[in-house]
């Protein structure tokens, strides 16, 4: 495992995204639209309860991350671009971490914009903004390790478009619940709760990262 190589994969990813600068813009817009539509459908009153707002926000984030990761790997399959990386010495090991890193950066940005938008649209009051940031960072860290793992598992399979959410969403349930509760805790001023939930999220992120780094190279083809 070489950090330099992981960095190179992440940079390539970001650059492919930037060559199409709309990638980020559309991810942000996507989350915004999703939050809007969800709030509208659920009803603004229900949606502005911190727990519901948090849940909607995190579901939107999970979806955005799944879409972005799937897109990134579909792009690799076109013209067998992935083969070039896998055939490089150390390529197989670097790709999981590199993609996860790039995805973390992407959805981190999306979280900032989407989060600000949620707060604004739903005029939520946040008792502990610092803790909210902490929970958000922890929640963002938790998504990529799981999602990249499942996208790799479903790679080249038929119906993978549906398979990835089927596999990833149930596994993400504990994290989504933790992130939602953490968000609600931070909003309502429960400092200890927010920190506990953030800690749990970081623990999840670590467990899945280790799992992914260990077993993903075997699945890559």
């Amino acid at each position: 495992m070489s950090l330099r190589r992981i960095g190179l994969v992440a940079r390539r990813e970001v650059r492919a995204e930037r060559g199409q600068p709309d990638g980020l813009v559309s991810a942000v817009t996507f989350v915004a639209v999703l939050i809007l539509v969800e709030s509208l459908a659920v009803g603004p009153l229900a949606a502005s309860r911190p727990a519901v707002a948090g849940a909607l926000f995190w579901i939107a984030m999970a979806f955005a991350a799944i879409l972005a990761t799937s897109r990134s790997f579909e792009r690799e399959l076109e013209d067998d671009a992935l083969d070039a990386v896998l055939a490089l010495p150390g390529g197989r090991d670097a790709i999981y971490a590199g993609k996860a890193l790039a995805l973390t950066a992407l959805i981190g940005l999306v979280a900032i914009v989407g989060g600000a938008l949620s707060l604004l649209l739903l005029s939520l009051d946040v008792a502990l903004p610092g803790h909210l940031v902490l929970v958000t960072i922890a929640g963002v860290l938790g998504l990529p390790p799981v999602i990249v793992l499942f996208v790799v598992l479903a790679l080249r399979l038929r119906s993978r478009g549906a398979l990835v959410p089927i596999l990833a969403l149930p596994v993400l349930v504990p994290q989504l619940v933790a992130a939602t509760n953490g968000t609600a805790a931070a909003a309502s001023g429960d400092a200890a709760g927010a920190i506990a939930w953030a800690g749990l999220l970081v623990a999840f992120a670590l467990v899945y990262s280790v799992l992914g780094l260990t077993i993903v190279p075997a699945a890559l083809e």
Partner: protein
């Protein structure tokens, strides 16, 4: 590297005995559950569903832990027999998780007054069910022996994280569901002795049933693998 014969035959020989053992054990356990043990003070005879319910849930755990172990063994050794064990156990696990959900819902109607409640253990059980349906889907979608086995093994390892979550979910959030009364963290069961005995008997009987089903299903899978291996030779 691909040896098909030795282990399969010993399992084949054990199968009739496992079949007989599970039938006998089931009869004994049913008698204990339905006749010998007393009705519950609060629930009356409805309590008797408990024995099957808990044994069901136990099998779900057991099956998925076996999937996990077989998956690790497969990634380690790349021997197809472990893949066969993993599918077999996953299918049985999905079956019994499904039964837990259905029987639990039927039981919930008289005890909680609803078919379905959004209660942590019930929900986490449903989520676990969805996960392993996903596992079976992934298997069905890939048709190449080695690739499928590798991917499924990875998934089998990742998904096991949910088993402790299901079991401990009741202690995290207080809820309708009973706290663990048998497999308690402090290992002190809080149950009437005759009920506990019936429960243990049923659990043992179900475990025999699991072993029997496993030998049968693993055998089918081994044949299937052998056919594929032969077809390519």
């Amino acid at each position: 590297m691909i040896s098909t014969t030795a282990k399969t035959t010993s399992a084949l020989r054990a199968r009739p005995f496992l079949g007989a053992a599970s039938i006998v054990a089931l009869f004994v356990a049913l008698w204990m559950a339905l006749v010998w043990s007393p009705p519950d003070a609060a629930m009356g005879n409805v309590v008797r569903i408990l024995y099957v319910h808990v044994a069901n849930a136990w099998l779900a755990y057991l099956a998925f832990v076996i999937v996990f172990l077989a998956s690790v063994a497969y990634l380690w050794t790349k021997r197809p027999v472990f893949d066969a064990v993993a599918v077999a156990s996953a299918e049985i696990g999905v079956l019994f998780t499904g039964l837990t959900l259905v029987l639990g819902s039927i039981w919930a109607r008289p005890t909680w007054g609803v078919w379905w409640s959004w209660e942590p253990r019930v929900v986490t059980t449903a989520v676990m069910f969805a996960m392993y349906v996903g596992y079976l889907l992934l298997r069905n979608l890939s048709d190449d022996l080695e690739r499928r086995a590798t991917r499924a093994a990875i998934l089998g390892i990742v998904l096991v994280v949910d088993v402790p979550i299901v079991h401990l979910s009741v202690t995290w959030m207080n809820a309708l569901h009973q706290l663990p009364s048998v497999l308690r963290p402090d290992l002190q069961p809080t149950l009437d002795p005759s009920m506990l005995a019936s429960l243990i008997a049923m659990t043992i009987a179900f475990t025999f049933l699991y072993a029997y089903l496993m030998t049968a299903r693993v055998d089918i899978e081994r044949r299937r693998q052998a056919r594929v291996i032969e077809a390519r030779a």
